[in-house]
């Protein structure tokens, strides 16, 4: 069966510090991968998606970047965090043709102080 791992679960970082969140998927190959952010009381905002190694599409301009160095690994990064980067970050995967839409990880709660 497929599983998705996301870490860390919580993170408190000072303004101006770098960020690296990692997501890995097991039990499938060639998944589509996604990073979403959920601000308090808000819906899920798609940040990046990837349909293959090295292929990254950005949905909104921001202080963040994403990379996919391996087929089942997706990384969200920032060189210098802003207060506005605080939120709940969710990684997800999908396969074309699946009827389940996306399968989400457990999320990372990021607080920038």
């Amino acid at each position: 069966s497929q599983t998705i791992h996301q870490w860390p679960a919580t993170l408190v970082q000072p303004v101006g510090s770098p960020l690296s969140l990692e997501c890995t998927v097991e039990g499938t190959s060639n998944p589509n991968l996604y990073w979403y952010r959920q601000a308090a009381g808000r819906g899920l905002q798609l940040l990046f998606y990837s349909v293959g190694i090295g292929q990254i599409s950005s949905e909104v301009p921001q202080n963040l970047s994403a990379s996919r160095p391996q087929d089942r690994q997706f990384i969200l990064s920032s060189k210098k965090l802003l207060l506005s980067d605080s939120g709940f970050y969710l990684c997800a995967w999908s396969r074309e043709g699946t009827q389940r839409g996306y399968t989400f990880g457990s999320g990372t709660r990021l607080t920038v102080v």
């Binding site: 808000r42 819906g43 798609l46 349909v51 074309e96 839409g101 996306y102 989400f104 457990s106 999320g107």
Partner: protein, 114 residues
């Protein structure tokens, strides 16, 4: 621009009091509509996929329906454990490719009191 609106934003029910949640959408190239449940501090959990107007899906006390412009999530005789945020997400084509992406509504926070 694709738009998804869920109503109400919050709903408080007594245990056993049935109700419905609404998801209205304006999207191009709809390729299905998904419902998710999200508990606090966790990732969304898949509930249903609907593909065509008139389609219905059921799971325990939940039933999802779809029309051309909206979807409803009906909750029959809810229990406190049904308390969660319910998210709907139409799936549309991304950038003219065959790849589909989900655009989420802001969710309805459901609280069921015993």
């Amino acid at each position: 621009e694709d738009q998804v609106t869920q109503s109400p934003e919050a709903l408080r029910l007594q245990e056993g009091e049935s109700s419905s949640l609404n998801c209205s959408y304006t999207v191009s190239g709809l390729r299905g509509l998904f419902w998710y449940r999200q508990d606090p501090g966790k990732g969304p959990e898949f509930l249903f996929t609907l593909y065509s107007a008139g389609e219905e899906k059921e799971k325990e006390r939940l039933k999802a329906t779809l029309t051309k412009k909206e979807s409803f999530l009906h909750i029959t005789a809810p229990k406190p454990e049904d308390s969660a945020t319910y998210l709907c997400a139409p799936r549309v084509n991304a950038g003219g490719t065959s790849y589909g992406k989900l655009t989420f509504g802001q969710g309805t926070i459901l609280t069921v009191h015993p």
